[in-house]
Subunit: 212 residues, 2 copies
Amino acid sequence: MLKLSTTQNRTPGFDGKRLHLLESAARVFSQVGYDGASMRRIAAEAQVSPAGIYNYVTGKEELLYWIQYHTFDSLLKGLEHSLSGVVDPQERLATAVRNHVRHFGENMHELKVCARELETLEGEAYDAVHECRRTYFEAVHQLVKELEPTGGSRLDSWIATANLFGMINWFYQWYDAGRTQVSLDDLAAQQTALFLDGYFASTSNGDDGADK
Amino acid sequence: MLKLSTTQNRTPGFDGKRLHLLESAARVFSQVGYDGASMRRIAAEAQVSPAGIYNYVTGKEELLYWIQYHTFDSLLKGLEHSLSGVVDPQERLATAVRNHVRHFGENMHELKVCARELETLEGEAYDAVHECRRTYFEAVHQLVKELEPTGGSRLDSWIATANLFGMINWFYQWYDAGRTQVSLDDLAAQQTALFLDGYFASTSNGDDGADK
DNA sequence: GAGAGATACGAACGAACGTTCGTACGTGCC
DNA sequence: GGCACGTACGAACGTTCGTTCGTATCTCTC
């Protein structure tokens, strides 16, 4: 299932137009959900006829596939890039959270679609996205495990990582509901601090786990 | 919008049958989403004809409304009940998390629908559910604020509460994906500990914030 | 047992859906 | 100029959707 559209014999502007189409689709998906979004509405958003969409994509399914795959892929790429040169384990985790939250801020629609429609795709398309997502999760999980090389927290590192993702993924539900008093970097810092030291902790813990 | 179905002149078994219908609808909604669920499938799940649904409910929208309203309402009721007699602030928060997570375990379908379809309803129906949800959030927020009566954490209590909800709401995405090595109470305890003390904290903090 | 009203369902409605088809238009190559 | 082909769109297809309608059954009341 899900034949991908061919990428040969294309006009110069093809890639750009498809990207524009994916952005429009992500915008609509994030507003009304995958099932609630009609191809006609996506077409209108992208200023194309409904039939025109099928020049760039084999169907609705592939729209979601590309949005999700591209999002997790660039999350991972961004993580690897921003981690280079950072050695302190706490600082590395803070960097990862900042990367994630910033990415959310700059691609709110795409991330929202990824968070909400995780189980919408099926078959090979689901597997491909799932593999990409798993790689990203494991990269962050590794950062968590490296926090305490001597043998560990009393908490399960996998569960703690999952809960960390809960914090940084769930925030699309409440952030920017009008009351943007806090910047994305501030938010990332608070989430890092909460994860590392809890709500209570004394501030004696070095740089308190979130700076910059 | 959303005329509620009348509740007068009903047969004795009416309430029970409607509850059964709502459970079936919640099961289908949680599997394929609100938009992806057809009335025909819900009817089949409830062993009723599609037309028969409309004896108990004015339409699809009201199904979602009752599921969400009833869920948040019983979350709040359960919270108030389980808090009675508990005085230690950390223990009160631990109790709240346990209440939430247990409720998730016992009503996985309903909670999943509440988490995923928060923005699906519109107008009065949305407002009514939103008010109920806000009350529940504020109750937990109050518990967080009472953790440190002397003046507070370095973190914003509202944001910390929102992140707490991120942890305990997001877990439907990964829990029971086959690997149920950890009980719901254990999970609640880990989430409470993570929130109160962070991933790092020394275990010297009283009962470490999660017991029972 | 006659009447009323709640409960149940098969059939059908109009609307909207994702997608396909046929046909134009534009551009580059010989 | 003529051909090939990527791009674009209006119209239409078949399907499925939420809901309504007409009617049959069941259960009380008098």
